[in-house]
């Protein structure tokens, strides 16, 4: 195996390019994906490589171009629809929920919608409430949709390739603050199945469950703090929110008997609530302490720096939660 060092955005770019080489029905559509080389340079060079028929710049009309993607998918193409940010997918929410998610079912199985809707989600740096939505829980609620949230370039590439080959509508949520993260990944082709959690760091005292940017926060910020106190935490990244790899998460919890679930989104009906519910059912007898969730506070994300910091999960919040499940407070 040969290794290559890539940025997160390059890993996504490779996934799309490889799948477009492999299958002429795959195309990319969205705002500024072509001539501008992508709002976050994820599609850099793709217009030059594949031409304007397959790398399509759209007007600012999310509802229409997302719906267009659904129609194209129903009739045999395999669109990758890029939202400049997942915040703007809300303009197309009806198309996604009413059409993408339900068409296969309502048509009695006649019309699959093989489509990827991707772009950055979550909070970036002080971009205020309308540009900071964590949309994963909104979409994960809807039967018919899959939701993928990679945290590393390796996962991003393997999962995006799988998502493009999937015959279902997949919401693929990236993170602006991770686009510049680099990693050595195989130069050869590989795929990662949807619905497989990954143990990022092994440990025995407590299980930490986190995805996307929160997995980074834990690995680089929380784990070193815990190590200083002699706590060996296991970090598990579900990678796909839906389908959720319950068994992968439960395996870790059965080993450590304690878990903290961290998400960037809000608490009420959050992804962590679903994970906690399933873990309680699956691991009730294995738990030595109630599960603890760390989430964003229940207010729209404010612009002002101190308020933003106070709203989003921070290292100290997770360390505190870990001590709580370990009864070390």
């Amino acid at each position: 195996m040969t290794l290559q060092k890539v940025l997160f955005r390059e890993a996504l770019n490779q996934a799309m390019c490889e799948e477009m080489e492999r299958d002429a029905n795959v195309f990319l559509m969205g705002e500024e994906v072509g001539e501008y080389d992508g709002p976050y340079k994820v599609s850099q060079g793709m217009l030059a490589r594949f031409g304007p028929k397959r790398v399509v710049d759209t007007p600012i009309s999310e509802n229409a171009f997302c719906g267009l993607g659904i129609g194209a998918a129903m009739t045999g193409l395999r669109p990758i629809v890029e939202f400049m940010s997942l915040n703007f997918s809300l303009v197309a929410f009806d198309q996604i929920v009413s059409n993408a998610a339900k068409t296969l079912y309502m048509s009695g199985g006649q019309f699959p919608v093989p489509m990827v809707m991707r772009g950055p989600g979550g909070a970036a740096a002080q971009v205020a409430a309308q540009h900071s939505n964590c949309v994963e829980s909104y979409f994960a609620q809807v039967p018919g949709l899959k939701v993928v949230m990679p945290s590393t370039p390796y996962d991003a590439k393997g999962l995006l390739k799988t998502a493009i080959r999937d015959d279902n509508p997949v919401i693929f949520i990236e993170n602006e603050l991770l686009y510049g993260v680099s990693q050595e990944i195989p130069a050869e082709e590989y795929l990662i199945p949807l619905g497989q959690a990954h143990v990022r760091v092994e440990g025995s005292d407590v299980t930490l469950i986190a995805y996307s940017r929160m997995a980074h926060l834990l690995e680089s910020g929380v784990l070193p703090e815990l190590r200083k106190e002699g706590i060996r935490a296991e970090l598990v990244d579900p990678r796909t929110i839906k389908p959720l790899d319950l068994e992968g998460l439960a395996r870790s919890v059965r080993k450590t008997h304690r878990a903290v679930i961290v998400e960037e989104g809000h608490r009420f009906c959050g992804v962590g609530a679903e994970i906690a519910d399933r873990l309680y059912s699956a691991c009730f007898d294995d738990l030595d302490a109630p599960l603890v969730r760390v989430t964003q506070q229940e207010n729209p994300l404010p612009y002002s720096k101190p308020l933003e910091t106070a709203s989003l999960p921070q290292v100290a919040d997770v360390v505190q939660a870990v001590k709580q499940v370990l009864y070390r407070l």
Binding site: N13, R49, Y303, S304, K305
Partner: protein, 357 residues
């Protein structure tokens, strides 16, 4: 990295020179604009010029403050479009409503919101117009009837429609000024709002600020029609084009439009041709357009036009103009000082205003 065997060859970028009419000068002032000048008089016209200078100076300072990391997040500058906001809102009454996009600094200053309250907002301070919770894109003022700067392209259009509906519902003679971009007009919600405004004859003034670009996409690459007034026809709505670089044109057009509608409400679509001098946001180097194009617009700079006219009228000599600039500069420096000295919001502020009490 796999892609880009060859980087995309940047073709020569086409130049779109300003399509505007005649720049302001006493010699070529039409009868209509001459009357406008007389109507405004020295004090008001000079006051409007001062507002334009204030917007320019305020935003130049914003750029600097961003580089010093006093301001964060997205920052979309209005420079180049000053005549539009000042002229159009100058023709409105204090009790009219206004709503706009994230490019809201010029609109907010034109409404007379103090520079210090805006700068404090940009600094994330509790003394800001939105208590530091909104930032650059989300200026709101109950006092000035500013229904927000909005971050979702086109999202403000139905909000402004709602204010127009209120006027209709209560039978007031207010109008609702709905500002949005040439990119935003392609959002479905514009078309839905236009239909309802026309159907119910609401006093909605739809103002598309056609600054030639929606982010990096030139207007012609995103719009099937190049004369946006055509879009009104499908909704049996009146429409007109205005030179958005020309303060008097903007003012005069809106005076006429608004006056009529106070007595007899109906919507209108106004396409104002304008130009933004800076990139889409502060992080956009704007490589998709040429230096020559920017320079062509700067030759019809809205501020310079008015300054020349004021000079020709003998209403603002060089000395007085320099004094005005110094005053404005001081006002902006005071705003920065105010923002700097103001406190950040207290932690409790985080959970305030999530629900009404």
């Amino acid at each position: 990295m796999t892609p880009a065997s060859a980087a995309p060859r940047k073709n020569a970028i086409p130049i779109h020179p300003p399509e505007q009419g005649v720049p302001l000068s006493l010699a070529n002032l039409s009868r209509r604009l001459r009357a406008t000048v007389e109507e405004l008089g020295r004090e008001r016209l000079t006051g409007m010029y001062r507002q334009m200078v204030l917007i320019r100076a305020f935003e130049q300072r914003c750029e600097q403050m961003y580089q010093q990391r006093k301001i964060a997040g997205f920052l979309h500058l209005y420079m180049g479009q000053e005549a539009l906001a000042v002229g159009m809102l100058g023709a409105c009454r204090a009790d009219d409503y206004a709503v706009t996009s994230y490019r809201d600094h010029g609109i907010a200053l034109s409404l007379g919101i103090p520079a210090k309250a805006l700068m404090a907002e940009l600094f994330g301070k509790v003394t800001g117009v939105s208590r530091g919770k909104g930032g650059s894109m989300h200026f709101y003022s109950k006092e000035k009837n500013l229904l927000g700067g909005h971050g979702i392209v086109g999202g403000q259009i139905p909000i402004g429609l709602g204010a127009a509906f209120r006027a209709h519902y209560l039978g007031t003679d207010q109008v609702s000024m709905i500002f949005f971009g040439d990119g935003a007009i392609n959002q479905g919600v514009f078309h839905e709002a236009a239909n309802m405004a026309s159907l119910w004859r609401l006093p909605a003034i739809f103002i598309v600020e056609n600054n030639r670009y929606g982010m990096g996409t030139a207007f012609e690459r995103a719009s099937s029609v190049h004369d946006l007034t055509q879009k009104a026809q499908g909704y049996a709505m009146e429409a007109r084009q205005v030179d958005g670089m020309n303060l008097l044109e903007c003012y005069a057009a809106l005076r006429e439009v608004v006056e009529v509608r106070r007595r007899n409400p109906s919507p209108i679509l106004i396409e104002a041709k304008t130009y933004r001098y800076r990139g889409h946001s502060i992080s956009d180097p704007a490589t998709y357009r040429s230096k020559e194009e920017v320079e062509a617009y700067q030759r019809v700079d809205p501020l310079q036009q008015v300054r020349r006219l004021l000079g020709e009228l003998g209403w603002l000599g060089d000395g007085a103009a320099q004094q005005l600039e110094r005053d404005v500069r001081q006002e902006v420096l005071d705003a920065v000082a105010f923002a700097e000295e103001s406190p950040f919001p207290e932690p409790e502020e985080r959970s305030r205003h999530v629900y009404a009490p």
